[in-house]
């Protein structure tokens, strides 16, 4: 396999993976996810799920909003309702992964090598990855992203363990506010990431259109917000290009 490659990678995949792990530990999201998952697992404890279940839930779903929905509705709603709510909340992964793949893959990347990075994609990993990947040689990107995702996912697992250890003793106010770590970190990291007009506009419009649609109880409000605000931002970008 190595003989067919035109040029050897400048560093082995394990080194890129390690760099990704280190980037995860340096990211604000590592600590934010730790706090956030302490909050979520306190919720799971309250609803009577075991620690093992909570760890599987985190590793398999790896999406905080979907996990909160699953944990808090599994005991009360019908299975179809729960599946639908989980599916709607995770629809954001479609455009996120679609935008990630072209940055991630090299010329001869196999489809199967994209499965793990796709699974590891969560907002935190995506936001950090989209900023860091373009600075890396193409052949290192998948291993780096896998390291980054594994590092951030391990923060969530660690948070789940701590959450169960503390659950009975955690003051409710603290458990509650831990859930708020995530939106704050997303807001700030995105502000740091979004350097182009189109990205800034898309983010700003999303902040405004999102609540408007949610207040109207529009079905699939997140998807519609992405579509409307994203398309508007893109249209402004095209207009500006045309006027140059």
């Amino acid at each position: 396999m190595s003989s067919s490659q035109p040029r050897p990678p400048s560093q082995p995949a394990s080194a890129s993976f390690l760099n990704g792990l280190l980037a995860a530990f340096k990211s604000v999201f590592f600590y934010v996810l730790l706090g956030n998952y302490i909050g979520i697992s306190a919720l799971a404890y309250e609803f009577g799920f075991s620690l093992t279940w909570m760890v599987f839930c985190t590793v398999l779903i790896w999406a905080a909003p979907a996990q909160v929905i699953l944990i808090s509705t599994l005991t009360t709603a019908t299975l179809l309702e729960v599946a639908l709510a989980v599916g709607l909340s995770s629809a954001r992964f479609l455009p996120m992964v679609a935008a990630l793949i072209p940055t991630l893959k090299a010329e001869h990347t196999r489809q199967t090598h994209l499965l793990l990075p796709s699974h590891l994609t969560a907002i935190s990993v995506w936001v950090e990855g989209m900023r860091m990947l373009p600075q890396l040689p193409r052949e290192q990107r998948i291993s780096f992203y896998n390291g980054l995702g594994t590092g951030l996912l391990s923060a969530a697992v660690l948070g789940s363990l701590i959450g169960y250890a503390l659950a009975a003793r955690l003051p409710p106010v603290l458990a509650t506010t831990l859930l708020f770590f995530t939106p704050m970190a997303i807001l700030m990291s995105s502000a740091r990431n979004n350097q182009t007009l189109i990205d800034r506009l898309a983010f700003g419009l999303g902040l405004v259109v999102g609540p408007l649609l949610a207040a109207q109880k529009v079905k699939l409000d997140l998807m519609w917000t992405g579509f409307i605000a994203g398309t508007a931002a893109y249209a402004v970008h095209r207009l500006r290009e045309a006027m140059r």
């Binding site: 599987f56 793949i101 979004n194 994203g230």
Partner: protein, 112 residues
């Protein structure tokens, strides 16, 4: 039949599958896109707007017990946290710490 189902089977069928399917679809869509194409700019704008909508939704329509913290406190936490982020040379750490302090302080003060 709601909770009679094995919790792990439920996790796989109504937790993992409905969520993971979107990642698989994203893979299929993304495979055909060129990094320097116009359409990828649009897809990225859609994804970015979606991420913003998640922030707005958790702040204004929060999950679980977070709803017990008044919306004014939640908005103040987000706003002051962002201000700290800007003041402290775009440090996300500073912003998150200040925002969380405002949220805990505000919630505790109102709980009394």
């Amino acid at each position: 039949m709601s909770f009679a189902m094995e919790p792990y089977l439920a996790l796989l069928l109504i937790g993992f599958l409905p969520s993971e399917a979107w990642r698989w679809l994203g893979m299929l869509v993304g495979r055909g896109l060129d990094e320097n194409s116009e359409i990828i700019l649009w897809v990225r704008a859609v994804a970015t707007a979606l991420v913003a909508a998640v922030v707005a939704r958790i702040t204004l329509f929060p999950p679980g017990a977070l709803a017990a913290v008044p919306v004014e406190v939640r908005l103040a936490a987000l706003g002051l946290g962002f201000l700290a982020f800007v003041i402290f040379r775009r440090s996300a750490f500073a912003g998150v710490i200040v925002g969380e302090a405002v949220l805990i302080g505000g919630a505790a003060a109102l709980a009394q």
